[in-house]
Symmetry: C2
Subunit: 189 residues, 2 copies
DNA sequence: ATATTTAACTAACACTTGTTAGTCTGTTCA
DNA sequence: TGAACAGACTAACAAGTGTTAGTTAAATAT
């Protein structure tokens, strides 16, 4: 056998291409030629292009859900929980630089799994919001609009996948603590 | 004449569809039928699908460049400049909810204009970074990693287009000042 | 050594893509 | 009124799309 490719290889390469051009702009022939094989050969390992998107997005989304569940069940205070959420995002983003692009930009092309994905995302945001609102109640977090706080932190965390690869020198523990400090304490002196 | 469509109509509808599904997933037939016309009729007004993307992205990118130039030329202190940048983003995002999606997610499908776009973006980020570094030097901004500060603020501002439409109740002046406060002073009490 | 399985290949499919050519009808202006 | 034009239409194109069928050869199991 000239070559032996695995489903994992295909998914990884797909994620890389999906990040560069988006799901819709990547053809099965693009993907195959990047791997060094003909498009039809891919179908010995996967069932459809859709399946690739599903595998990429849902596995990451579930990792976020699991991480959030652990944080919600911990009895830390609100600021500690936020710190743990930052860690969670830094860790998942670092290990899924390519996949995060699909999660953020191509989720709308999920078909059967779209509703499931949207539920995971909504639940995640609801938990996040609850942590913030509790923090305000407990006087740990300043009395600002919780939606603006949620939006501001979550936007930053969701964009990590774009920045981590550009700053290879910054190690993840350092990034995580710098980020936590800036998000929580702000930047003013 | 049964109908009279303008290039502006086409661009607006295109931006809306590009936000929903991404540039590559929107066909000229999709676009035409949303407008209530046949695909070939679009070509009486525009020269190509590419042109639509260019018009949408470049016009917004240039508005950011102009806004940044005004801020750089003002002799405000660093914190004031950051406040003005927040306003700039809130204003442009509010007025270009759909187009901002293309700017953020479909810029890689620009062809002849790709280099130009990338130059505008890099210059913008360089100016932003300079403001932050000057702020640190002048003791207005805390001595943290300027790349992390830049990334954190800019990610939030670049995601505004996703949040503004979900929070119609929050008016833009209020949003702008809440956001400035959170980005600069943080969220801790 | 032989039989079975794995996974590549070529060829083709039905359909969709952006775009062009040519036509026809309603509007504008002399 | 009639000529010129604008802008819609139908029809078609060449190229590209995801995917399937059938074939072949290498790897593995008996």
């Amino acid at each position: 056998m000239k070559q032996k490719i695995s489903k994992e290889d295909i998914i990884k390469t797909a994620a890389k291409l999906f990040k560069e051009k988006g799901f819709s702009a990547v053809t099965m022939r693009d993907l195959a030629s990047k791997i060094g094989v003909k498009a039809s050969s891919l179908y010995n390992h996967i069932s459809s292009k859709q399946e690739l998107l599903k595998e990429i997005i849902i596995s990451i989304a579930e990792r976020f859900t699991e991480g959030m569940a652990v944080i919600m069940n911990s009895n830390s205070n609100s600021i500690d929980k936020l710190t743990k959420i930052v860690d969670l995002h830094v860790n998942i983003a670092s290990n899924n630089i390519y996949g995060m692009a699909s999660l953020n930009n191509d989720w709308m092309h999920l078909e059967e799994q779209l509703d499931y994905y949207l539920k995971l995302r909504t639940d995640y945001e609801d938990n996040f919001r609850e942590i913030i609102i509790n923090g305000i109640k407990n006087n740990e977090i300043k009395h600002a609009n919780p939606e603006v706080i949620l939006f501001s932190i979550l936007s930053t965390l969701r964009s990590l996948y774009l920045w981590i690869p550009k700053k290879e020198d910054l190690n993840h523990i350092e990034l995580s603590s710098n980020l936590t400090s800036i998000l929580i304490e702000g930047i003013n002196k």
